[in-house]
Amino acid sequence: MKKVTYIEAITQALYEEMERDEKVFLIGQDIGLYGGVFKATKGLMDRFGAERVIDAPISEVYIAGGSVGAALVGLKPVAEIQFADFITPSMDQIIQQMAKMRYRTGGSWTCPMTIRVCCGGEVGGGLYHSQINEQWFFSQPGLIVVLPSTPYDAKGLLKSAIRGNDPVIYFEHKRLYRSVKEEIPDEDFTVPIGKAAIRKEGKDITLVAYGLMCQKTMEAIETLEKDGISCEFIDMRTLRPWDRETILESVKKTSRAVLVQENSKTGGVMAEVSATITEEVFDYLDAPISRVCGLDVPMLPFAPPMEHFFLPNAEKIVRVVKKVMEY
């Protein structure tokens, strides 16, 4: 067991998977010689060479489209999109080709590939380096979407993504890269896709989050538990297909739910979770399901006080949970 950061866990997963399977290769901007803007691929070109760690031109559509082609001829591409903000040029390849390949060929072709997408705010990154944009992919059938919140999950989910037979959008939150550290096993392990983690059991209310919002929620829970509110906390980890069973069973138990999401409220992941809870376990609810989300503005502002105002945090979560508990 060794303590590693979230980004070290990602590097380890890439290294180990490339060692394990020579079909695995990396492609992305500045990932080779420079080792990645956040150094996620540091040292990999030295070890595996330029043919397996490819520095791509500044063309997201090429990175995604080239990977789709490589996947179709039997390779296992792991592409990197440097910032989720810049993923839009590649959308045609991701949505029209990658996501639909298995379906439109009746299962004859698959796209076994992973796109790592660096995402998320609270880094002072301003308009174009802070977006998360997970909801675009969350709503697209044919894709698997994951967003780990711990080093253990970062490594285990990336391995599962690379080893799987279907396209995975692997979001990695840049605020978590070096701010979380934990001991993870030395031996090989994976984290199953589609399975949420119950981070804490409780009986009064169910809190659901993913990514950076897990930290905010845990912080809020410390305050709430002091006030005698017993919280159950679920980290979704996989957004698509999300773990309905774990969340629904928890809400059946607690009868109350607060859902936390970094992105804007409208049309987000938690809108879907909330609607499903109402559809499936309405008869168990004791209060309205409430959400704590980012504001509905075009993008995350640059000025730190404004960024703070935009994003959900522990105080906002505590306030909403208390309101729901008083209902």
């Binding site: 309405f282 008869d283 168990y284 609810l285 004791d286 008083e326 209902y327």
Partner: protein, 427 residues
Amino acid sequence: MEYKVIVPPLGESVVEGTIVKWLKNEGDPVKVDDPLVEVMTDKINVEIPSPHDGVMKKHLVAPETVVEVGAEIAVMEVEGEVEQARTFQVKPDDGRERIPKEQELKAPPEEFVGTTEHHAHMGIHADEAAIEGGIKAVKSSPVVRRLAREHFIDLRKLSGTGKSGRVSKADVLKYIEMRHSVDIVRPDFVFPTAEPEEIIPITGIRKVIAEHMVRSAFTIPHVTTFDEADMSALVSWRRRNVDKIETLHGVRITYLPFIAKAIIFAARDFPWMNATFEGDNLHVKKYFNIGMAVARKNSLIVPVVKHCEQKSLLEIAREMRELGDKAEADTLKIEEITGGTISITNAGVMGALGSTPIIAAPQVAILGVHKIVEKPVVRDGEIVVGPILNFGLSFDHRVIDGGYAVQFLRKMIEFLEDPDSWLLSVI
């Protein structure tokens, strides 16, 4: 030589008892027939007599232990050679269904709690209008509405602690828990003074009664039919004679001996009412051992007046009084509380106007007798005041059909309403 003391047969259907206390300590000299040990059985405490002279050498079981009939419980030293008592086991196929020991004393299983059967057992019934009315009238959430329907709750009975008086899930769960907790028999309940509640362990005879009630209630599909008797004739007969009889015979006669006789007459036409249902057989009895429930301080016991068909009203009355006295003094013998063929329970002495009594298995019927009250009755087209007794007859619907029981009760009432037709034959 060493002689092993065993638990002797303790009476019909009794298969085990609990050691209450040892009456001979280890080392005590013992004479034949000296009581060795007190054992509590389902209904009564018995003392087991010593079969020989000798010395109590060793107790094999401690007080509070449950021992089966036939089990070894002590070792005595006796002089000379005597025949060892043979240990034995009560045959499970003695005509009664043997319920395993652990099952007998267990609370209802968890999955049973909250079910329709449990509610019925607790006397909670689905009053749909009340439930839906409550849901409409009270601000509540989906889970509260679901719980109200599942647990038959009229939400208007709860005080909500949620926002602006809203009834919350926690309020309902608290109410359900409170309601379940009152489902315990509480002998001598005293209103608490300082403590918000008093916990009374249900043990001994009380526990045995509880267990019997549950067994009867859940084995036998009970149906209770009600009918009223105009007691005018009997009331005036008794009024005229009760003092005279007491002076002459030393017993103050009640209505129960008359009711016992009416049962016997009615059973001529409806013999299945006087029977026991054992295994797959209905044992229709040609004699009438009538159990008469007597309330004691902490419990209830049903002494049996044997062969009522051969006894006069006075004899029955006398015997009832004797058995009642013994019950009060706790000196009833096993044979005085077993072997009943039909039972009477008189909630009327306490003032009850109706009840649905639970049958004493394996009998198939029990007659609930209630208070005689003055009521308007129509006689020859005129409304007059008459003394009315409401009977509740519970019967085992597995073997007795509704019509059969209803007609039996009517027939019995006809005899009570016209005592002149039979009184002379039973005095």
